[in-house]
């Protein structure tokens, strides 16, 4: 303590105190706030009653008390647990604005709460179920087949490496950098917003695993060529070659052809000599009439 006290007036003490305060706040924040659903969920202990209560408290204002839909939001009867899981775990629901495209944002619900609501919706209308952990496991998946399916059905919206892409009228297909395997699976299964539905009948659960494995491996693998430049193709390459390549080379060309200057110390000496000799004769021009 005395050690700290003896140095309390040093300039660095202020910075140290600030840093300590930031660290403390960060730790408190991390401990006290809830984070969204992360791991593959288990279907045990879903409490339908809890889910119904949560639904009526949060979702029914747009979706109706019986989830029958209103003019603001569609009916959720038949939407299934998978749709609920996807929309809520990615934070898209509760929607922040009616009618707009919903973007991924942090969710304020816990994993358990989401599962409960999902179980409730499943119970009132059925629909696609949340996949089991085994169903979204990427172990032993055929990424070659996944690459074929991805490029034929997904890449045209999401980009060849899942970097996202534009759709019409201001919508866009999001990047796939943050989606968990379960979220990818449920998205394929339920076709959220503008995304088409890829039911198990055409893309089997095994094929879905292959696609998920392909996506996960693509986004985690290193870029052996250096920085990825966004993985959007030649657009960024063109920007780099003009701004980076040509720009830097033009500066170097200016250096190569710049006129030679006297070294600064030689110039200084010359100026000093010039100043001495000009001291007597240089002020002759004051008369200007």
């Amino acid at each position: 303590m005395g050690w700290i006290n003896a140095r309390r007036r040093r300039p660095v003490a202020g910075y140290a105190a600030l840093l300590l305060g930031l660290v403390v706040v960060a730790l408190l924040y991390g401990a006290l706030t809830r984070t969204g659903a992360q791991a593959a969920p288990t279907t045990a202990q879903q409490n339908i009653a809890n889910g119904q209560a949560l639904f009526q408290a949060t979702c029914s204002s747009c979706h109706g008390l019986e989830a029958q839909g209103t003019d603001q939001a569609p009916s959720l009867i038949g939407a299934g647990a998978a749709a609920v899981y996807f929309q809520m775990s990615t934070g898209r629901m509760p929607a922040k604005e009616v009618g707009a495209e919903n973007e991924r944002k942090p969710t304020t619900f816990t994993e358990q709460e989401i599962l409960d609501i999902a179980a409730y919706i499943q119970s009132i209308g059925g629909g696609p179920q949340i996949p089991t952990p085994a169903q979204v496991s990427t172990a032993g998946a055929d990424t070659a087949l996944g690459s074929q399916l991805f490029s034929a059905n997904c890449a045209q919206c999401h980009g060849f490496a899942g970097a996202g892409g534009a759709l019409t009228y201001g919508k866009d297909a999001p990047a796939m950098t943050q989606a968990t395997p379960t979220q990818i699976y449920t998205a394929m299964l339920t076709g959220p917003e503008a995304m088409p539905v890829f039911s198990d009948g055409v893309i089997s659960p095994q094929a879905k695993r292959d696609i998920i494995a392909y996506i996960v491996q693509t986004r985690t693998e290193a870029n052996p060529g250096g920085l990825s430049l966004g993985r959007t193709g030649p657009i960024t390459e063109g920007l780099v070659i003009f701004l980076g390549g040509m720009g830097v080379l033009v500066l170097i060309a200016m250096w190569i052809t710049a006129k030679r200057r006297e070294p600064w110390d030689v110039a200084q000496q010359e100026n000093a000599r010039a100043g001495q000799s000009a001291g007597t004769s240089g002020t002759s021009g004051t008369e200007h009439r």
Binding site: D142, T143, A144, S147, Q148, S151, A152, A155, Q156, C157, H158, G159, F160, A161, A163, G164, G165, A166, L167, T168, Y169, G170, D172, A173, Y214, Q217, T218, E221, N223, P224, G225, G226, L227, S228, L229, R231, T232, G233, P234, I235, E237, G238, V240, I241, F242, G244, G245, M246, V248, L249, V250, I252, A253, M254, I256, T257, A258, H288, R289
Partner: protein
């Protein structure tokens, strides 16, 4: 002095041996001291030259490993994500180069970055030559060779990045084939002959390969040799400066100065390509996947230099004409033909048009400052705007995604801007050029503002101007005043109009000439107190119809543009001193 150097016997011996057989001493002696003017913008063409050398070196390395075949193989290489996938040998060999050949990925990336740099350098070099008027006599042929090189570079790059047969470049080839197919009468034949049948066929990759590694590089090498030979023979142009005249070249000698600088430049360019290849991924074909005509990705664009074509395909509305059992797809043909014809054809045609419009048949070895040629500069900027709008439209889906602008909105903006933009750019640029000319005139008349404020004895404050020094004067005085051709109103004593002004072409020529000849001059009579009326006028040179009294021929500058000896003794609101 240099006599003290003892050259090694090997050097002198070899030199003698060669000279005995090839008679080179005198010519080489001249060449050793040959002058190359020093300006940074003269090094832009060299970027393209050294990039080409880098392309040859790295391309040779790649050609030892690349297999130009579309035969299908099942992949079992190092990129395990695609293990078991069926793909062409071309794609598999490219994966092999990237992941199983040491330095292979580096060579691929240097090769591709150098190709992009080659085209970028060519573009900027062409613009430099255009804006400084260095294409004028005697350099028109070199200009045309340059345009040919640019066109060859386009095709070379297109074929080069299509060789690996990946999803992205395959889509580009599909578009190429679709466009070919749409050409009237011969389109389907052209497409079937090039591809050896329906798309994609098995012949396109080996054919592109031989065109890419042999035919076009050979042509480019020959044209570069001609281009450089002409440049050396005619001697390079130089920028207007003190001591530079139409009849000399001022600079540093080739040996050792320009040689060393050229060598340093080569290493810098190679180094830049190497840095890019180390730190920036280009053409990650392993992410694109092998080509299948069934799949496509968003953000599918060709390399940047094909962007103008891509943008023009995107900007077109649907437009097709059906008649007599034939289909003419204008939404494909217009993008294919019009933009490149306008840009490249216009560029090729420009030196001759300018010559026709200005009537200027003289030699030009001193470059123009862009501001001194307002019509040329404005046309160039208009062309750049046209190119730029189409280029940006080629990236419209990426722009829509990253900047959150709706997709169709961007296309609509581009549809308007492609017409409005060049017109506005022309007008604005021309006015900026004339404004800069006015600023130069101001400098000539009043000298440079020093920012030093002086109080006169009677209490008034003036800003002190200093006269321009010789170098600055030389730069401003190098401007040439273009001559007017006889105008439509001009007629000789018998009332016959000048022969050049007759007819549609004659009248068009006169109109163009008026535009080109518009410039800001200092009045012939003034002390440089040039705030009189009609600052903006052209100087007449014809026998009749000369609107101005000053008789100044083309290529000369009015004497009054040399500043008054004491511009500092008075300032614009005072009476000028007595001339005595």
């Amino acid at each position: 002095m240099s006599d003290n150097i003892d050259f090694p016997k090997a050097l002198t011996g070899t030199g003698s041996w060669l000279d005995d057989r090839f008679h080179g001493a005198r010519g080489l002696r001249v060449f050793l001291r040959k002058v190359f003017p020093d300006h940074w913008s003269f090094l832009l063409g060299e970027i393209a030259l050294w990039s080409f050398v880098i392309l040859l070196l790295t391309g040779t390395f790649l050609s030892f490993f690349f297999v130009p075949s579309t035969a299908e193989v099942v992949y079992h290489g190092s990129y395990v994500k695609l293990d078991g996938l069926r793909m062409s040998e071309a794609y598999a060999s490219t994966l092999n180069i990237s992941f199983d050949v040491r330095a292979g990925l580096l060579m691929r990336q240097i090769h591709h970055w150098a190709a992009d740099l080659f085209m970028a350098a060519l573009t900027i070099h062409m613009l430099r030559v255009f804006f400084t008027g260095a294409y004028r006599k005697p350099r028109e042929v070199n200009w045309l060779i340059g345009i040919a090189l640019f066109s060859l570079g386009l095709v070379e790059g297109l074929f080069g990045y299509s060789l690996p047969d990946d999803q992205l470049s395959g889509a580009g080839l599909r578009i190429f084939e679709g466009v070919l197919q749409g050409i009237p009468i011969v389109g389907t034949y052209l497409a079937f002959f090039l591809f050896g049948g329906p798309f994609p066929g098995n012949y396109i990759v080996p054919r592109m390969y031989i065109i890419h590694v042999l035919l076009i590089p050979g042509l480019i090498l020959a044209l570069i040799t001609a281009h450089l030979f002409i440049m050396v023979h005619q001697k390079h142009t130089q920028m207007p400066a003190l001591g530079n005249t139409e009849k000399n070249v001022v600079g540093q000698p080739f040996f050792p100065y320009f040689m060393a600088k050229g060598g340093a430049w080569f290493f810098f360019i190679f180094g830049a390509c190497a840095v890019l290849a180390t730190f920036a991924t280009i053409n990650p074909i392993w992410l694109y996947g092998p080509y299948t005509p069934v799949a496509i990705s968003s953000a599918s664009q060709p390399d940047w230099y094909m962007g103008i074509l891509e943008g023009s395909l995107r900007i077109m509305p649907a437009w097709e004409i059906n008649f007599l059992g034939h289909t003419l797809s204008l939404s494909v043909l217009i993008p294919f033909i019009v933009p490149l014809t306008v840009v490249l054809g216009g560029a090729a045609f420009w030196p001759f048009f300018e010559r026709w419009a200005t009537g200027d048949k003289s030699w030009h070895n001193i470059n123009d400052r862009p501001r001194n040629a307002p019509i040329r500069t404005a046309t160039g900027i208009a062309a750049v705007t046209f190119y730029g709008v189409l280029w940006a439209e080629g990236a419209n889906d990426v722009i829509a995604d990253k900047l959150q602008i709706p997709l169709y909105t961007i296309t609509w903006i581009a549809r308007v801007m492609v017409f409005v933009g060049p017109v506005v750019a022309f007008i604005v640029t021309r006015r900026i050029c004339l404004g800069l000319q006015r600023k130069d005139k101001n400098l000539l008349e009043h000298g440079l503002e020093t920012g030093i404020i002086r109080q006169l004895p009677q209490g008034e404050f003036i800003e002190v101007h200093r006269p321009l020094d010789e170098e600055e004067l030389a730069l401003l005085e190098a401007k040439k005043v273009p001559a007017l051709l006889p105008g439509p109103g001009s007629a000789d004593e018998n009332g016959l109009p000048a022969p050049q002004g007759r007819g549609v072409m004659g009248r068009a020529r006169v109109i163009a000439n008026r535009g080109f000849a518009e410039t800001i001059v200092v009045e012939a009579d003034g002390h440089g107190n040039g705030h009189g009326p009609a600052e903006e006028h052209a100087v007449g040179a014809g026998p009749a119809g000369a609107e101005e009294q000053a008789e100044i021929g083309p290529g000369e500058l009015p004497e009054s543009s040399i500043p008054h000896t004491d511009p500092l003794l008075w300032h614009p609101h005072q009476e000028p001193p007595d001339e005595s």
